[in-house]
């Protein structure tokens, strides 16, 4: 019974994290669109000037970190629904590794630029 309650709390926590990360991602998407627009049209100098403004740099860093977190949570749900039990753990670990790698690379390149 205690085990079941723990699992219920875990599921509720997972749901809450997914919703909260989604809520924070809504306003942060602004930086993604601004970044995409500059990738397409800005000169290299303008791009660097934009990226060096702390509000833009940290806005993008926050977007990448949260999107990776949100993605990892989402992939876990997909695997739980569509992947059979013995392979679920490997799939979840691979996804977590993928999102951690993406987040680390993005933060590293944003700090480097």
């Amino acid at each position: 019974m205690k085990n079941l309650l723990d699992k219920r709390h875990l599921a509720h926590f997972h749901w809450l994290q997914q919703r909260l990360s989604a809520l924070f991602l809504l306003p942060l998407s602004y930086w993604l669109f601004m970044f995409t627009e500059r990738c397409l049209h800005a000169s290299y100098g303008d791009m660097l000037t934009w990226l060096h403004l702390p509000i833009n740099k940290y806005g993008l860093i926050a977007w990448f970190l949260l999107v990776c977190y949100h993605g990892a949570l989402g992939m876990q749900v997909v695997f739980e629904d569509y992947v059979s039990r013995p392979r679920q753990r490997i799939a979840s670990w691979s996804a977590n590794l993928f999102f951690t790698g993406i987040a680390l690379c993005a933060v590293f390149f944003l700090i480097q630029s």
């Binding site: 699992k7 919703r19 989604a22 809520l23 991602l25 809504l26 998407s29 993604l32 669109f33 995409t36 627009e37 990738c39 397409l40 290299y44 791009m47 660097l48 990226l51 990448f64 999107v67 990776c68 993605g71 989402g74 992939m75 997909v78 629904d81 569509y82 059979s84 039990r85 993928f98 999102f99 993406i102 690379c105 993005a106 390149f109 944003l110 480097q112 630029s113």
Partner: protein
Amino acid sequence: MPHNRPISPHLQIYRLPLTGLISISHRLTGVLLSIGLMGLVFILWQITLGEARFTQMQVALHTFPLRVLTVGFVYALLFHLCHGVRHLIWDAGHTFSREKLTLYALTELLISAGLTVFIAKELM
């Protein structure tokens, strides 16, 4: 926990209603957007490599296939975002009646398409 936990309906057999189709598309766009993150990280990498690589990447981004991919990414993101907002409305306990389900599903599709046209015009 037993290992015979039921899994989701088999999509080859079960005929999904519009809300169901949107729900599975929400998952699909989530997976595709995750793959697309690699492209964004690649762009950041090119920026760190200097002006020549950035310009080269910018030229590539203006080719037809990559323009289509960019608009596709934007649409996937906006669709995922719109359906995400719908989930938040559901979590608040609203719009569960059968008529409202289809009406709101169509609204979501229209809003995400409209936003994509608006943003794609700004981007391209």
